[in-house]
Subunit: 141 residues, 4 copies
């Protein structure tokens, strides 16, 4: 019997994450060490100048980094992260965040994240995850 | 007539920030290049393991960095930021975030942020703000 | 007449960089928004435990980010950078650092850097460059 | 018999660090979780435009963060770091880097670093150190 798929793992994670579901975060694509997430810039996510608040861009990107890490079916938490804001993320439009693995060790993973709106990169992140040696879903061997 | 006070500037900013008011962020103390904010870890801020989601810790800290920058009455946006997570932030309890100025130039400010719960530092941040040469409240000379 | 090539631009940059030449940094491959650099871990680069000092890993990675940015023939300086150290870089062996463009605007570029030794990723970096609208080598139109 | 002093610990560290001694790094002041270092911007540290290369500013700052961590007499290595460059560091002049502890746990310490030339802050850093539970100098109890 095969290991749990990335899709199954992330469906489980998303169900358990009130923050992600409140924000309307959706899993668009997955693979080993990779995830693509979608989120619409809803009115309650806007800052004082009418674009997406940087905190919600970070939260989306943080999910992308952590979810990419979780595709390996080992629990993980973000240990540290860095974000660069490049362009405003416009209200009412779709954001896509891709997390991809730069490096992975037994206890540490590093993930690059790009947050895009149409073809514009609005923010980039690097997230360092601490990996805990416990399965998200039961391992099958 | 004196310049607008840090208190008046941040009261204006907070009123215009739906994100900050939705999160219950309060200004506890201000000074030139300094702010102390409070936020309670409400149920909708929790992650899957029942502690404050890292995205909301970041959002609180981002406000602390940006608000510290705004005390000088010049508009500003976060350009990039880095966060390190040290300990879980417990549900139902108060968080305090202090932003303080490390350096300020005409167009750039760097802010150190500490996020605490009781005496525990749960996260630290560095935020780099891009300063725009326009007043938040009208300048008085 | 074509624009200066990435190879020509980086040859010019390297010649003018005493730090890079002192460290024995070599350009192995280039492309638009991309560079691969090589550097041997010489004895004077070692820390107290006999592996490459983190400052020199950073310097190599900083060159990879900045050089990738310079391939577009616009002057640039590193504005901020973040590095994560994953594994020791062993003495006497070759390091390879690849810088690749995550996003580029008129005045800002973001570069991901991986520093490898054989197939091991020893460090990852993100560098944000400030772009100055002046050519490195004369523009040809 | 008292624990080894911060001065004694850092004297030992500096003696064993060829990189720090090659760069002429000096310990100016120490305390628990604190260090002030000095370094002159010598000719071989200059970049192509005649100011201190960012890699050497980082190396100085990295030493400030790590040395501040080592004052507690537990071995440590930098795990990740972030630097923001604010102003050029001028040739031939003295740099002062101060590292101070933002937070410390059993296995992790976070350090803020400011690098100054006269009264100008030329760069700020945050360094996260991984702490190893072994003494630098023998513990005395």
């Amino acid at each position: 019997m095969a290991q749990p798929t990335a899709d199954a793992i992330l469906a489980h994670i998303l169900t358990g994450s009130r923050v992600a579901t409140d924000l309307g975060i959706r899993v668009l694509a997955t693979g080993p060490g990779f995830v693509r997430l979608g989120m619409t810039v809803a009115p309650h996510l806007l800052n004082g100048v009418g674009t997406c608040h940087g905190g919600y861009l970070f939260t989306l990107g943080d999910c992308a980094g952590a979810f990419a890490c979780l595709t390996h079916n080992r629990r993980a938490v973000t240990h540290s992260a860095q974000i660069a804001y490049l362009e405003p993320a416009l209200a009412g439009q779709e954001l896509v965040a891709e997390g991809s693995e730069l490096a992975r060790r037994k206890r540490t993973g590093v993930y690059a994240v790009r947050i895009m709106q149409d073809d514009r990169v609005v923010a980039t992140m690097t997230a360092i995850c601490a990996i805990i040696d416990e399965p998200v879903l039961p391992d099958n061997n």
